[in-house]
């Protein structure tokens, strides 16, 4: 590494970053050089691979067009194979970028989570919650990609969070049917049975969705605003009301509006085994570092990660599950 590298100072920008400057100096600064070294290696590899990929793409394209023109009555199979090969080769070219991003996350995120005390980060591990609640708070899918697992305690509430992308094979192509966050919160209340909160899709939407949640029946609640946005399905109407107090319904409404200020609220959740599991659709991919072209000796990524953590904690604060 060159001797004249400049390690940046962390300037706290907002209440949510208060106290992080000292943590940055102690825990993150020692990692910056290693991350930057890795970035340079991966970037060099990426550039070489891109050159190879572009040349290969040109050759494959020319070859595919030539083959297609030689075969009479061809149905475009040559072109399809060519496209497939080009996608694969560019996928291979982008691998160093993926490795760099994973390196940044696996080094910085545990340190950031450590700042909040009792919290850990794992880049990737198996998750079964999507399978368990498929057809309830998650749509039908046959493949999933999960990452960014954060687990720990925030203001006395045990939480578990990760990002998920659910894919369903449809005829000849794959479609992303859900992308977003899965947040599990342990509630203070001990309750029985299962209560499901689905978004209200209007008379027509609800009719076509049906009410085929096994063992659960539609239970209208008293709050008319709540009933406009959510539909409640439960196996026990008393337990559903025990969990969904009038105060908690207000907080759920606040959460739904937080996530979708202008549009139709899309948050759904299930209450079971003393836990609340919330599916929060989001097109944004959280905790992603900036471009591999930018130096790692900067604090933009850290500010971005801290802002995303703040948004997650805001969800928990809005629900006030530490109270009941």
């Amino acid at each position: 590494m060159p001797e004249n590298i400049i390690i940046p100072d962390f300037i706290e920008a907002g209440d949510h970053e208060k106290g992080f400057a000292a943590h940055f100096k102690d825990k993150i600064v020692p990692l910056l050089e290693t991350v930057e070294e890795n970035r340079l290696i991966q970037y060099a590899s990426f550039k070489i691979r891109m050159v190879i990929a572009i040349i290969a793409a040109i050759l494959i394209t020319v070859g595919a067009i030539f083959l297609e023109s030689q075969v009479s009555g061809g149905d475009g199979d040559g072109i399809k194979i060519g496209i497939f090969l080009i996608i694969c080769i560019f996928g291979w070219a982008y691998l160093p970028v993926k490795r760099y991003k994973e390196d940044v996350k696996s080094k910085f995120m545990p340190v950031i989570c450590g700042f909040y005390g009792n919290m850990t980060y794992t880049l990737s591990r198996p998750s079964s919650v999507e399978d368990f609640y498929m057809g309830q708070i998650f749509p039908q899918f046959n493949r999933k990609e999960v990452e960014d697992f954060i687990e720990g305690e925030y203001r006395g509430v045990k939480l578990n969070l990760h990002e998920t992308k659910l894919i369903q094979r449809q005829r000849k192509s794959n479609a992303t049917v859900f992308r977003g966050l899965v947040l599990e919160l342990e509630l203070k209340k001990q309750f029985n049975g299962k209560t499901l909160l689905k978004k209200d899709e209007g008379s027509v939407g609800n009719f076509f969705r049906g009410e085929d949640f096994v063992g659960l029946k539609r239970t209208p609640l008293e709050d008319p605003e709540f009933e406009k946005i959510f539909q409640v399905f439960t196996g026990d109407p008393v337990e559903a009301r025990f969990v969904l107090t009038t105060a908690f319904m207000e907080r759920l409404l606040a959460l739904a509006r937080l996530r979708s200020p202008a549009g139709t609220p899309t948050v759904e959740c299930v209450f079971e085994l003393n836990k609340m599991i919330i599916s929060i659709p989001s097109q944004q991919n959280l905790f992603e570092p900036k471009s591999i072209r930018k130096t790692a000796l900067q604090t933009d990524d850290i500010h971005s990660f801290l802002a995303e953590m703040k948004d997650i904690f805001l969800l928990v604060d809005t629900l006030k599950v530490n109270r009941n």
């Binding site: 008293e222 109407p237 009301r241």
Partner: protein
């Protein structure tokens, strides 16, 4: 000629549908009322533990504890009975007195930190919340039945088969008053 039997059959089917719907809604109200009963029974079962634990420490609340014991006896005699309004009133008063007792516990630090008392308080809190939830469900069932029986021709059929409107659970008059914090903590 065919028209009269068709009208007759349609009318009979409509009548039967309304009759069956009324019976289902009435049963839902009674089921939800018995749901409240289940929770109230849990509360009644907890009260002796509360009183026994509190008695050891709370020397100045003898009157309050006697009132709770008497109300518990009265509540148990009106439970599962036909007089819903009386049952609601007694249970509401019992709930208020229990609330006053729990507030009084705050004046006794030794009692407040006693593990038995803590367990009983937690159980009581959960039971009270379940009672509130059961009452909400009862009111919801009553509203569905009352909405149905107040519209013609359902009101007419309800009258024939003697299905009445059920009372809503309402807080007692004392509970509706703004609490006097000074009086509570004196």
């Amino acid at each position: 000629m065919m028209l009269i039997p068709i009208i007759l059959v349609v009318t009979l089917i409509a009548f039967y549908s309304i009759y069956a719907s009324l019976i289902r809604k009435k049963n839902a109200v009674e089921e939800s009322f018995s749901g409240i009963d289940v929770q109230l029974t849990k509360r009644h079962d907890l009260i002796p533990n509360v009183i026994e634990t509190a008695k050891k420490f709370m020397t100045h609340e003898k009157t309050l504890m006697e009132e709770i014991t008497n109300l518990r006896t009265a509540a148990m005699s009106t439970a599962h009975g036909k007089d819903m309004k009386k049952s609601f009133k007694t249970e509401s008063e019992l709930g208020d007195k229990l609330g006053q007792l729990m507030i009084s516990v705050e004046n006794y630090p030794t009692l407040k930190s006693d593990s038995t008392m803590l367990n009983v308080q937690e159980a009581l809190e959960s039971t009270e919340e379940h009672i509130a939830a059961a009452r909400r469900f009862y009111n919801s069932s009553v509203r569905v039945l009352n909405d149905f029986t107040q519209v013609w021709p359902m009101s007419m059929i309800a009258g024939w088969i003697k299905i009445k409107n059920y009372p809503y659970f309402e807080a007692a008059e004392e509970a509706k008053e703004v609490p006097n914090a000074g009086k509570m903590f004196s």
